[in-house]
């Protein structure tokens, strides 16, 4: 799996007209694909420009040595919890009984389908899944 990802990954350093470009049109097409976007020709050109400009600024982070710094994904485990407890124990208050229907009843079928762009009254309808 890892090998596959690596082989798909774009080359990190690209150079266009002698100028160092982090992101090329090819990268934009690849990332758009990952993000389930198509983008028009114009949008891709603009995206190359914008992403390079933003990533250029983001590179200032490399001035910092973070080898010994722990990453922080969120704040909830640092504040407002009992620091004497460890791991998931800190969030024991957020647990609930495993009860049928949970905290509230499931949405009635009709209501759950009400916003669907297409349905047959029982299921969401989508274009053909299997392509050939």
């Amino acid at each position: 799996m890892e090998a596959l990802q690596l082989s798909c990954a774009p080359n990190p350093s690209n150079s266009i007209n002698g100028e160092e470009m982090k992101v090329t049109e090819k990268d934009v097409a690849y990332v758009a694909d990952l993000g389930n976007l198509e983008l028009t020709e114009d949008e891709r050109t603009r995206m190359v420009r914008d992403l390079n400009s933003i990533l250029g600024h983001i590179d200032t982070l490399n001035e910092l040595d973070t080898a010994d710094v722990q990453p922080m994904a969120q704040v909830s485990d640092r504040y407002g919890v009992d620091q004497s407890k460890h791991g998931s124990e800190r969030f024991a208050y957020a647990n609930r009984e495993d009860i049928h229907e949970g905290l509230r009843k499931s949405l009635p079928h009709e209501m759950a389908l009400a916003n669907a762009p297409d349905s047959d009254g029982t299921f969401f309808k989508v274009p053909k899944v299997i392509e050939r």
């Binding site: 690596l6 990954a9 949008e43 957020a94 762009p117």
Partner: protein, 478 residues
């Protein structure tokens, strides 16, 4: 009595004492919206039926002589990123153009349970991504103080509605400054509570570890009343904290005298508009006069906050926005013949330029080969930024700074330069990354009569202290 100028307390007691009715109050706000909003653009959807039924309920209580709840009969607006049962909720996006939610956001239901009358849904940048409200898929919002200028963003409609007397108070959301910066631009009070203080249930997710619900109000006391109403543990949001909610209104009565207030040199450096600096320095002086001790501090990693924020926020956004695929709700492109083509075209046509830019940046930062260099790096710098605050709060009770480096800028001024737009958030994003509470309170004006906001940042779950300092600033500016 001009009904549109009332604060929460004044509006509630006018209804309680039957000097007016909640129905008359709501009608007067709808009349104001009808006459003034065409020039401002703050409202996207009006919820008259729901508002009038709540108003009638409050009038019936008052007629019986029963005590009204704390927001009894008070007309409020809700940013369109919070879902409202049966009322169209678009998040400012075409992709949710026809979305009618089947449930209510917890903050909205708590306001209504406290008697508030929900007038309608307020304009914002698409999925709360923006600093000028120009990313709304529907229409821009104009700053009520100067219609050629932006109201700030992303809660631009919320700030403008309160500033233009079209709502007594409004709910907004803040992920990188989206409550405080528009409050500063429009001259109102904007409070972002601590992360976890207010439930995010029913808030359409942008960046889950950074999203906060808070208020835009005319006064600091109104901010305390709204927070007291919406704060507290909610079983529907596992990140809502199990921390007791103090009586913020009672806490306001404590004087600011004796509090230690930090001033960080990194927030008063290059790029700060001269008139904004003058207003900030003069309000710091007034806090000193009020008996606060002013202490010089340093938050050394501040310059890394914007790059950190734009990696963390966009990475989370790219994941959160993956749910918009044209299957269960929202826009679906008509012309696609395959499932994957349908996903792509629906998203291509449904999302605006800034949202696509952020999905792209976030997806790039999370993609194989770049995860460590961007996402993991940003998470580590997030730790450093948080430690800066932790160190500062061992010396001071709160930190004051400008909310924004400039007053409200002109519509169109930054739309073609995303990086320049991002840099407008330079003083606000760090608080979101660290999860600390912040408030913007009007502290002066420029020569052109544009409002300037003073930002006050506090310790986790210590909204009381920043509200007290905001009150002192409000009183000194009056």
């Amino acid at each position: 009595m001009n009904l549109n100028l009332l604060t929460i307390e004044a509006a509630r007691s006018a209804v309680q004492e039957r000097r007016t009715s909640a129905v008359a109050l709501a009608e007067s706000f709808y009349a104001k919206i009808e006459s003034d909003d065409p020039n401002i653009g703050a409202f996207l959807t009006l919820s008259k039926e729901r508002a009038m039924s709540k108003a009638a309920e409050m009038d019936a209580l008052a007629a019986k002589g029963d005590k009204l709840p704390p927001l009894g009969g008070v007309p409020v607006g809700i940013k369109d990123v919070m879902v409202t049962k049966g009322i169209r909720t678009t998040a400012g996006s075409k992709i949710l153009g026809n979305y009618v939610p089947p449930y209510d956001c917890t903050a909205v239901s708590r306001l209504e349970a406290a008697g508030a009358v929900v007038l309608g849904k307020l304009n914002c940048d698409e999925f709360a991504m923006g600093s000028s409200n120009e990313n709304s898929a529907w229409k821009p919002v104009h700053n009520p103080r100067d219609l050629t200028r932006v109201p700030g963003g992303s809660s631009g409609g919320s700030a403008a509605a309160v500033a233009a007397d079209m709502a007594v108070a409004a709910l907004g959301s803040d992920t990188g400054g989206s409550i405080r910066q528009p409050a500063s631009f429009c001259g109102v009070v904007g409070l972002m509570p601590t992360y976890g203080r207010v439930s995010r249930y029913g808030l359409i997710a942008f960046a889950s570890s950074l999203d906060h619900i808070g208020s835009l109000t005319k006064t600091v006391k109104d901010a305390a009343i709204v927070l007291r109403t919406i704060a507290g543990r909610d079983p529907m949001d596992s990140t809502s904290a199990d921390v007791p909610v103090p009586d913020y209104v009672a806490e306001l009565e404590k004087p600011a005298r004796g509090l230690k207030i930090g001033v960080a040199k990194e927030y008063l450096g290059e790029g700060l508009d001269a008139e904004v600096r003058q207003a900030i320095e003069s309000s710091i002086q007034k806090l000193a006069t009020a008996g606060c001790e002013i202490v010089d501090i340093s938050l050394p990693h501040t310059k890394y906050a914007i790059p950190t924020y734009y990696i963390v926020a966009t990475a989370e956004a790219s994941s959160n926005l993956a749910r918009f695929d044209g299957v269960r709700y929202g826009y679906r492109a008509e012309d696609a013949r395959t499932l994957s083509g349908m996903y792509r075209r629906s998203r291509d046509q449904g999302f605006g330029a800034e949202v696509k830019r952020r999905i792209m940046l976030g997806t790039y930062a999370l993609s194989a080969g770049y995860y460590d260099a961007y996402y993991l790096k940003a998470q580590k710098v997030r730790t450093l930024l948080t430690r800066d605050f932790e160190a500062a709060f061992t010396k001071v009770d709160a930190i004051v700074a400008p909310t924004s480096p400039t007053p409200a800028f002109k519509l169109g001024e930054k739309v073609d330069d995303p990086l320049a737009m991002y840099l407008a958030d330079i003083y606000t994003v760090t608080a979101d990354l660290a999860g600390i509470p912040g408030i913007s309170v009007p502290c002066g004006e420029t020569k052109d009569k544009l409002p300037v906001g003073l930002q006050i940042l506090g310790r986790h779950f210590d909204e009381s202290t920043i509200l007290r300092i905001a009150r002192a600033t409000e009183q000194a500016a009056a």
